[in-house]
Amino acid sequence: MAGGFPTDTRGNGLTGIVPVVFAAALFAWFASMVPTIAATEIIRVSIPWIPSLGIELAFLVDGLSLTFSLLISGIGTLVLLYSNTYLAGHPQYARFALFLTAFMVSMLGLVLADDLILLFVFWELTTLTSYMLIGFSHEAEKSRRNALQALFVTGAGGLAFLAGLILLAAASGTTSISGIIAQGSALKEHAMYLPILILLLAGTFTKSAQVPFHFWLPNAMAAPTPVSAFLHSATMVKAGVYVMARMHPAMSGTDVWLWTLTILGAVTAVFASLLALRQTDLKQALAYTTLMALGTLTLFLGQESGYAMTAFATFLIVHSLYKASLFLVVGCIDLSTGTRETDQLGGLGRIMPITAVAAALAALSMAGFPPFLGFIGKELKYAGAIAVASEPLFVAGAALLSNALMLAVAGVVAFRPFWQGSVPSGQSPREAPWQMWAGPIILASLGAIFGIYPDLLQVALINPTVISLTGEIGEAKELKLWAGINIPLFLSIATFALGLLFYWRHVQLRALLERGFQSIPNLDKGWDSFLDGLKGFAKWQTQLVQNGKLSSYLFGTFLTIAAGILLTLVYTGMPMIAVDLSDVEWKHTSIALLTIAGALLALVTNSRIAGIAALGVVGIGIAMIFIVFSAPDVAITQLLVETLVVVLVAVVMLRLPSMPKAEFRLNHAVLSVAVGASVSLILIAVVSSPLDLRLTDYFEATSWPEAYGRNIVNVILVDFRALDTFGEIAVVVIAALSAYALLRTTRKGDQK
């Protein structure tokens, strides 16, 4: 999209406007709920959905969900407005708007859902829609790859998450979230608590790109900037944080919870802010600061203190506001100059004043300068950190370091491009159209407004949120710019000092980090090798199993048969066998031997005619068996069929080459014998116990009186079991038609 702003700023007509209006309407609707929530009430609606599984379409509006809803719909509105110009005249804008709106709705559903499964439905929907958005410029290999990466990582987490939810539902006997929370600390004592926690965190950490799953998020920036602004700052990545917050009352307070969240949060925060400083691409830098924010939020959720909770609520809002606006600003810079590389940018302040102001406001909030909300947020952070029962120094240190780095990054992103250096030659930047600076300005100034009038937030959102997090109102700490001379204040000052130092030396620092990060394994590279490994393994396995050779398929099948039977035999033990040879006549024996001889001849011969003749012998032998054991009809049929078989083979062989000499294969021989032996064995066992002849007796009794036939076999065929016979002649017809088609298929259709 580089190379100047769209000339036609009227956007995309209705397809552009409608989504904006829709989002705005949603925002208004949620705003209208603020009074209720501020009055520390909640709104819950539920419609039965899958009663047989106890799943409801249940939605809950409380402080937490309302805060999120307002952020989502509010920022959504501005982003959609922004996009309408950013992507003005784009042939696929309709799809873009559709996906973005769909995403917004799913996100709202996610934060409002009061049913675990319903929540998961929306969770996956956000994954799906974000996949479509990340891959929006789908003709570029890179964006396809990154879309898949994001989908795969979050999808993997999602599946663990699903398992966790199912266990959670099973453990607490309900899928209703408020229901679970109402059960108080029951869950924490439950035997399945740990597995549930691990699975849920697996889901949330992947979704919120916590270390070590962070690698997908920067790549997801392949998406158009508005998407990054929306998904990767304000909303989707916070879904994981949301779930942790949502489950906080029911699950927090255990050591596992405390330590996992604290440590991983802290590590993510520091690590991400270092990464952020290392970036030269503005968007990437912002992406990593988002990680840092998420880490911090996770860090807070590890605790239970009112400070931590208040800090969480505040910082949640703060971050969304400034981060979204900064992303949009970067979008403006990008469009205006055609680049996002810090060292190719400068002196934009005079050319794009409004954008510059927006950037400045946002950055100051981000850096945590008074009187911005960011400052309050930071103060609370420190307060919270100190309030942390365990290891305050560790937490405080982490917070300090990350905040300082944030300040530096803020400078790099929002100060340097505007107020340092001059516009490089070849760039002809212009001020962004109003649709594009409106968003940043509004969001950024909100940061200031709330900073100056924190009570607005306090009552409307912070307190209710803290209630949702802790359960008691009392926990909520007051937001104020001036909290007196206290440790947080000192820490703030330290932050400013350190941060400015970092900013001043950020180039050297970056070089240093570059060297440092060479040593750290790059999970993004790991991703590719993982995929290749997967493909390689799949190929290997498939060539092993599905090698295209019929002989090995048959071998496998027969092996399964033999192994199946014989191993089962080992398991069950020998069935009852009674061998009775008393009634065997020499006639029977010789017929049996003749048949066997025929089979063996067919087995050994390399001459086709000998083979056919051998089959003929087997046929004759079996016919003799049918004759001796009084089955004339069967014998006749057998002989007729045998004759036809010979005829057909004789005809076909006219065109077939002679058989090659077969070389002896021991493994085949062993397998064959095994199969044959097992069949014999089973049959012997079967005939060892007497046969129940109810059916036959009935046929003999009714064949003549009721079916008017003296040939019982024929009566069975055409009357008792006529349906079999019908199916059977159907088989014959189909066989003939199929074979006919196969023979004629090379001709021009079928002619007489």
Binding site: T542, G548, L550, S551, L554, F555, F558, D580, D583, V584, T589, T595, I596, L600, A602, L603, L615, I622, I625, F629, S630, D633, T637, V641, V645, L648, V649, V652, L656, M659, P660, A662, R665, H668, S672, V675, G676, S680, L681, L683, I684, V687, L691, T696, F699, E700, S703, W704, I712, V713, L717, D724, T725, E728, V731, I734, S738, A739, T745, T746
Partner: protein
């Protein structure tokens, strides 16, 4: 009696399996004929064997006077034989087509549907 033919069936099956495993379609066909004969015989033997008393009702009688052979398996075998013939007929034609179109009777050389190396 049944024992004797159970053994016979075993041999039929064994030879059939060996033939089917040999990587040659004509041998496979031979094996197919053998093994379907074996299957039919299995049903017949499972229904127990009766010497020289076909399941026919003599004129004037309402039911067989002596105890005759078990008619049901005979009917089943008859059905199975005919079905088996249908399958065989198709199979042999398929083998013929395989020879005329793929010019080979050794299925392991037939690699059109599943080429040697899957296309990248």
């Amino acid at each position: 009696m049944e024992f004797l033919f159970a053994i016979t069936i075993g041999v039929l099956v064994a030879s059939a399996v060996y033939l089917m495993l040999s990587n040659h379609l004509l041998r496979f066909i031979f094996g197919l004929v053998l093994i379907s004969n074996a299957a039919n015989l299995t049903i017949f033997v499972s229904g127990r064997l009766t010497d020289g008393a076909p399941p026919l009702i003599p004129e004037g009688a309402d039911a067989p006077l002596v105890d005759v052979a078990n008619a049901l398996p005979q009917a089943l075998v008859l059905t199975a034989i005919v079905i088996g013939f249908g399958l065989f007929a198709f199979a042999i034609v398929l083998v013929f087509r395989a020879w005329t179109t793929l010019n080979s009777l050794t299925p392991d050389d037939m690699r059109l549907a599943e080429p040697e190396e899957a296309p990248k």
